[in-house]
């Protein structure tokens, strides 16, 4: 070839490259020959392996960790049960199969069909649970007819069991199957169809530690689904136990005292914010949600105007009523509008901004200082104080005491509540603030909305002389937050000096121990400090709910307090919806909890 000269001599490397290629070609040929052997010569063998002996991977559900109270008593346990699943791949004739299964399991066909439809996107081989919560006697007839139903698999699974029934229902939450969307939305989390996950409460918050690691078993099954042998087994690992701050005894007492009423009892460890008891009534038995098939009961609960599923301690919005006078007292003192000695004369009524405002005590309290005004819950005193402070300082004090924002408790679904201010009204209602509204806020009415948990946290803060307390269901390392916007990230510098709280606390003490409105909560030698409240209005949603339930409107009854006065150990907040006067209804409930807690302390 012309021009050959300018090319270097590459014949050696080219020869080597060609030789290497032919070596590769020989290997390819050998590989092909081996495929020929496996696919053609040994085809029968592998076909038999594939068709007659199929390996099935079965998940061994890990038992969830137990949930215990602070003393180790079991609040959520597991018990053995059986579930039946359908493998669509093995269904030969859909109509006949569904009819037969429906007869065998006693499920009506539409339910069965909708159940299977719900998971229609899953691969054909994935078992779909069609019945669960069965005892040994329920599955015996199914097992005995294995041959007729190759599409059904019976598996044992540990089932959640709450030994206390309704006890702590709103703390513990309940389990439900995740929806197919929820499964697809979280590919990182190995949720499998048919698994039960925590939907609310501690079951939700601590779902990750509670759920164990599922085991697997590889079984060789024949074409009828009969297990021939087991190839390998990885045992499931039970989830970690979760120890809550709940005290089972206090919890039971809290629920007993609400029996037949609607309302909330919250008890906090005053030092740590640990929730000792949390009762919200009406309530429900979480055991009933454990099965995957409670559509009627479920719907009934969701549509119930009294909404027993709702955890009112964090989702119920109420006017704080006279409880708010604690905020007024702390704020008024802290901002220097009053001192211990400042008195306001209560004649039973006063004229503010052109309208007559009454005290609840018609004859009038006479000359009131802060301590006595708290003790007697004197409206006139706080009207006057409110007018002096103005709404924005009131709002500042309330916000710093934890109202109008989530407490950050480790439960999902907490509400913010509302502390009105002139800024808020301008933005939300596009209207200026009227001074008359300040007067309503000063005694805890108006647009103010609080949750009982906020009141409990606020009380704990007063008890701690200004130390911020975040309610918690779990203390220490495992602690988690349910919502992303949990507690305020950085600790705020305290707004008031510790001594600011003493006058208010003195008033709270006298309210309980010196013939004040909270005397129903008195416990001998325990120095209970508290404040009662009765709210005349309610939030719009509550009112609507009430109207639907056809109830007559009575006042809500509040009590919040702590004990002992020095070195506080426990905070109790009680709200009884439509309970009448706070002193008459709520204070005695709190009193019983204080009493029980004191016995526990003394017994220890």
């Amino acid at each position: 070839m012309p021009g050959e000269r300018i090319y270097e001599d590459l014949s050696l490397v080219r020869r080597r490259a060609s030789a290497a290629f032919w070596a590769v070609a020989a290997l390819i040929f050998l590989a092909l020959a081996y495929y020929w052997k496996v696919q053609i010569l040994d085809h029968k063998k592998y076909e038999d392996l594939a068709a007659a002996n199929r390996t099935r991977m079965r998940v061994l559900a890990a038992p969830r960790g137990l949930i215990r109270d602070r003393h180790g008593l079991i609040l959520a346990d597991n018990r053995a049960s059986f579930k039946v699943s359908l493998i669509r791949e093995n269904v030969k004739d859909v109509a006949a199969s569904f009819a037969a299964i429906s007869r065998l399991l006693g499920i009506d066909e539409p339910t069965l069909r909708s159940r299977v439809d719900l998971h229609k996107d899953l691969p054909q081989f994935e078992p779909i649970v069609v019945a669960d919560g069965l005892g040994p006697n329920d599955v015996a007839p199914i097992e005995s007819r294995r041959l007729e139903f190759p599409e059904l698999v019976v598996e044992a699974e540990p089932q959640r069991f709450y030994p206390g029934g309704t006890l702590g229902a709103h703390v513990l939450g309940y389990l439900q199957e995740p929806t197919p969307e929820e499964i697809k939305a979280r590919p990182d989390r190995k949720t499998r169809a048919g698994e039960m996950v925590g939907k609310t409460g501690a079951e939700h918050t601590f779902d990750d530690p509670l759920r164990g690691e599922d085991g697997t078993v590889y079984e060789v099954v024949d074409s009828l689904g009969r297990v021939q042998s087991e190839q390998a087994r990885v045992f499931p690992v039970q989830g970690k136990d979760v120890v809550l701050t709940i005290d089972r005894g206090l919890q039971a007492e809290a629920e007993r005292s609400l029996e037949g009423r609607e309302g909330v009892v919250v008890a906090l460890d005053a030092r740590t914010g640990g929730v000792l008891a949390l009762a919200s009534f009406p309530t429900y038995d979480p055991n009933r949600f454990i099965t995957r098939f409670t559509p009627d009961e479920w719907r009934q609960l969701i549509n119930d105007p009294l909404s027993p599923l709702e955890n009112r301690s964090i989702r119920g919005l109420y006017a704080p009523g006279s409880i708010f006078k604690l905020v007024m007292g702390v704020g008024g003192f802290g901002f220097g509008y009053v001192t211990e000695g400042t008195t306001v004369y209560c004649s039973g009524a006063t004229r503010i901004y052109g309208s007559i405002r009454h005290c609840w005590f018609v004859p009038g309290h006479g000359a009131m200082n802060l301590e006595n005004a708290i003790k007697n819950s004197c409206n006139i005193y706080f009207y006057t104080l409110g007018r002096r402070m103005g709404i924005d300082l009131i709002a500042l004090a309330a916000t710093r005491l934890g109202l109008g924002r989530k407490t950050g408790i480790d439960l999902i679904g907490e509400k913010d509540g509302l502390v009105p201010s002139s800024e808020w009204k301008k933005q939300a209602l596009k209207a200026p603030w009227y001074p008359g509204e300040t007067i309503s806020v000063a005694i805890g009415q108006g647009q103010l909305q609080v949750t009982p948990m906020q009141i409990a946290a606020m009380t704990a803060m007063i008890a701690g002389r200004g130390r911020t307390v975040h309610p918690r269901l779990m203390e220490g390392d495992g602690a988690a937050t349910a919502d992303e916007d949990g507690p305020p990230a950085a600790a705020e510098p305290p707004l008031f000096k510790a001594s600011t709280y003493e006058a208010v606390i003195a008033g709270m003490w006298r309210s309980v121990n010196d013939g004040g409105t909270g005397k129903g909560a008195r416990v001998a030698d325990f120095d209970v400090c508290g404040k009662t409240g009765s709210t005349q209005t309610m939030s719009r949603e509550n009112a609507e709910r009430l109207a639907r339930a056809g109830r007559e409107i009575k006042t809500h009854s509040w009590f919040t307090g702590f004990a002992p006065r020095n070195d506080p150990r426990i905070v109790v907040t009680v709200l009884v919806e439509f309970g009448g006067g706070g002193g008459a209804t709520a204070a005695p409930v709190a009193g019983r909890l204080f009493e029980l807690f004191k016995q526990e302390l003394d017994g220890r």
Binding site: V13, R16, A20, I28, A31, Y35, A232
Partner: protein, 364 residues
């Protein structure tokens, strides 16, 4: 830069067609084995084919000599990337081998393969004696060792193994004396035994022991191999049909649309499908390897040979792996397996081969 018309005529369109046919067969079986999973893998694979094709065409526009002259910089860059991956990258499937560029995720260890091809082409281009000297061998090993060790540290055994193919390929071409072969084999054995006891992770050891005795670990990698082999064997002559494979077995393969795509083909398209894919591959590899006769210089020969060997090695290891003749080392089947990085690198490697081939007339 425009390619002039003469060069355009020299592009190996047959090779390009073979690549695209293989890729489309891949998409077909990716769909079949993953259509019930969320994520529309077949659509993503199509998108990656588009991206890779574009990359291949871009590679064609620049004379390979230019790439070779820049190989030193590429080497530095990929070393930095590999180090960064080790340090920063998110953990995916237990190996720190991915680095994220917005929407696209790339494995620097895959890029390193291309860089090694270019670096070796440069190292050996001026080496004209019939056999390698010790000095030269050690030099080349030292250059290869840095990225190789970084990849082993990830740990990405599969990619590290393909690296050895590139290194070995370059040595074969440069000529190894019998003495050198003995020394290298002994060194390899020593490294292997040392590595087995020191560097290999338990799961990697298990994969090797599994090859010898698959039933010993039926639930782990041995289980994959057994199921894969059953799937292939049950495919028979004509296969079970599209989407009709007893995926009840293949579902235990976590990588059935990636590393184990060939067992899906074996099951659903039978020996016919296996034969077709292997025959296409043979044609593809023959066309790539035998392009060495069209290279105008030594660097070109090295590029063609190492790039072809890279594809051939991965192909062979993969099809032997899924049928139980090789340990499960996580090597994909080039062009057919699901996965963007692997596809991109295979296309670029072919692009380099085509690049050398189309510039066979020195236009000095």
């Amino acid at each position: 830069m425009m390619i002039d018309r003469r060069l355009f005529r020299e592009v190996d369109w047959v090779l390009l067609a073979l690549i695209l046919i293989q890729s489309l067969i891949g998409v077909f079986f990716i769909y079949s084995s993953s259509h019930f999973l969320p994520g529309a893998h077949h659509v993503r694979q199509l998108a990656w084919i588009g991206v890779s094709l574009l990359a291949l065409l871009l590679v064609l526009t620049v004379d390979y000599k230019f790439f070779v002259s820049l190989s030193g910089y590429f080497y530095g860059l990929v070393t930095v990337l590999l180090t960064a991956t080790l340090v920063f990258a998110r953990l995916i499937a237990g190996t720190k081998s991915w680095i994220s560029f917005g929407l696209m995720q790339l494995q620097p260890s895959e890029l390193a393969k291309i860089v090694m091809i270019l670096v070796f082409a440069r190292l050996f281009a001026e080496y004209k004696s019939a056999y390698l000297t010790t000095q030269h061998t050690l030099g080349a090993l030292a250059v290869a060792a840095v990225p190789l060790l970084l990849i082993i540290a990830q740990p990405d055994l599969g990619t590290a193994t393909t690296f050895l193919a590139i290194i070995g390929g370059a040595f074969i071409l440069a000529g190894l004396r019998k003495k050198a072969i003995v020394v290298l084999v002994l060194a390899g054995l020593a490294l292997g035994i040392g590595g087995w006891n020191i560097a290999l992770k338990d799961y990697q050891k298990k994969r090797v022991t599994t090859l010898i005795n698959p039933a010993g670990d039926p639930k782990g990698s041995g289980y994959q191999v057994i199921q894969s082999k059953i799937a292939i064997g049950s495919g028979g002559f004509a296969g079970t049909g599209f989407k009709k494979g007893t995926q009840s077995q293949l579902r235990f393969l976590p990588a059935r649309h990636t590393d184990f795509i060939f067992s899906v083909i074996g099951e659903e398209a039978g020996f016919l499908g296996v034969f077709a894919v292997i025959a296409l591959y043979f044609a593809l590899l023959a066309r790539m390897f035998l392009s060495v006769h069209k290279a105008r210089d030594r660097a070109g020969v090295y590029i063609i040979f190492t790039a072809s060997l890279l594809i051939a090695f991965q192909f062979l290891v993969n099809i032997l792996m899924v049928i139980g003749l090789m340990p499960v080392v996580g090597i994909t089947l080039p062009f057919l397996s699901y996965g963007g990085s692997s596809l991109l690198v295979s296309y670029v490697a072919c692009g380099l081969v085509m690049n050398v081939k189309m510039r066979r007339f020195a236009n000095v």
